[in-house]
Symmetry: C2
Subunit: 210 residues, 2 copies
C-alpha cells in the first residue's frame, strides 16, 4: 500500500519510541502515550497505525514488542536491499562508513567513481569500481538502489546511467533536481538544504535578540 | 526575515542550477528557465526570489552570477558557523569526514563522545572531547550549533546538555523527537525515515509489476 509520505516519516518516530519503551520493560502502550512522546496528535497516531493494519485493544492499547516488530517489518528495515553509491567523494565516502544504514535494511555492496585513483580501492570493505563497469557489476550483484553523491554538474548524467543500468530507486543527496522516467523512485535528501533552513532560523533568532 | 520552509528548501535547487549555468557561460536567466530546470512553477520561482528582495528585469531576466551570489549569501553558505557533533559513532564519524559541510558554511570544530577510547583522538583533524567537558569547550570555541548523532536512548538527555551548555540550534539526525525550550532551533534530518519512504515506494513498484 502506498502510504502518504507524512505518515511514512512519522512511523520511524513511533518505532524509536517503542524500542526505548521495550528496552525499559514496558509491555503495553496507548496511542496517547506514543502521541505525547512524539509530539503528534493521538488520533493521528491511531490513524497512522491503522494504515499498516494494526489496531490497539481497548484499555490496554498496543503490545510494545509486537507493534515495534510490525513497524520495523512494514518500514522495510528487516529486509536487505542491496545498494551502491555513485560518487565516492566526501559525502559518498562518509556514507560508505555509516554502518547504521545496514541496520535499517540497506546494504552497500559497491561504490562507483570516475577518478582513477579511487577505482580498485575499498572503503569499509566495500569495493570501488569504475563507473564504466556499472552495468556488469549491477547484473552480478543485483543492485536496485543507487545513492547519488556526485558533483551537481554530473547529477543528471549519472542518474541517466544508473537507470539505464537497472537502478529502480535513486536516493539523491545532491541539491540538483534530477529527472527520471516514470516508475523510477527518487528520494531527495539534500542535507545542505536543511542547513539553509537551520541557518535562517538561527539568524532570525539572533536578530530578535538584538 | 523568516521564510517559509518550502521556499528555503527550493532556494538551494535554484542555486545549484544557477551555478551550472554560470559555469557554462550563461549571463542571464529567466524565472521560466529556472522553473523548467527545477520542476517548480515559474510564478513560484519569481515569488521565492522576491522574498529575498531580488526581482528580474523585463525581457532579460536575472543576472546569473549576481543572483547566485545573492542566494548563497542569503542562505548563509558564505558565513562560517562553528558546530560540534555529539556522538562520534558511525554517522557522526562519517559527518566529521564530510568536507562538503564546510563549503556550505558549517565548520565542525569539535566532536563529543562518552566512550573513553574515542576521547583525545582526532577525526579528519577535528578533536574528540569527553562530553563532560562540553561547557568548557563551548566557551573556548564559541559553538552555537550542535549535531545530534547519539543513540536514540541518549537523544533527549544529550539535547538537554547541549542547550544547557549554550547551543542555540540542534541538527537532529536521530529518529527521536527531542523537546527543547522555546527559542532553540531544531532541524530534523532523519535519513533513515527517508529510507523508509524509498523502500515503501520501491515495494509498491514491485507489487505493480507482478
Amino acid at each position: 500500500m502506498i502510504l502518504p509520505e507524512p505518515t511514512l516519516r512519522r512511523l520511524p518516530w513511533y518505532l524509536a519510541h517503542l524500542k526505548l519503551m521495550g528496552d525499559s520493560g514496558a509491555e503495553y502502550v496507548s496511542s496517547t502515550q506514543i502521541a505525547a512522546a512524539t509530539n503528534v496528535d493521538a488520533s493521528q497516531v491511531a490513524k497512522d497505525l491503522s494504515f499498516i493494519g494494526i489496531s490497539g485493544k481497548t484499555r490496554v492499547g498496543y503490545e510494545v514488542k509486537s507493534l515495534a516488530a510490525a513497524l520495523e517489518d512494514f518500514l522495510g528495515f528487516t529486509s536487505t536491499h542491496n545498494a551502491c553509491i555513485f560518487g565516492v567523494g566526501s559525502l559518498g565516502g562518509a556514507l560508505l562508513q555509516d554502518t547504521g544504514l545496514e541496520q535499517y535494511g540497506m546494504k552497500l555492496v559497491a561504490g562507483f567513481d570516475v577518478r582513477k585513483d579511487m577505482i580498485g580501492r575499498r572503503i569499509n570493505g566495500i569495493p570501488i569500481y569504475d563507473v564504466a563497469d556499472f552495468a556488469k557489476v549491477q547484473r552480478e550483484k543485483k543492485i536496485n538502489i543507487g545513492i547519488l553523491t556526485v558533483p551537481v554538474e554530473r547529477a543528471q548524467a549519472t542518474a541517466d546511467l544508473m537507470t539505464a543500468g537497472g537502478i529502480k530507486a535513486i536516493w539523491n543527496f545532491t541539491p540538483y533536481r534530477i529527472r527520471v522516467a516514470k516508475g523510477i523512485v527518487v528520494q531527495n535528501t539534500s542535507i545542505y538544504a536543511h542547513l539553509a533552513v537551520m541557518f535562517n532560523r538561527l539568524n532570525e533568532l539572533n536578530r530578535d535578540a538584538e
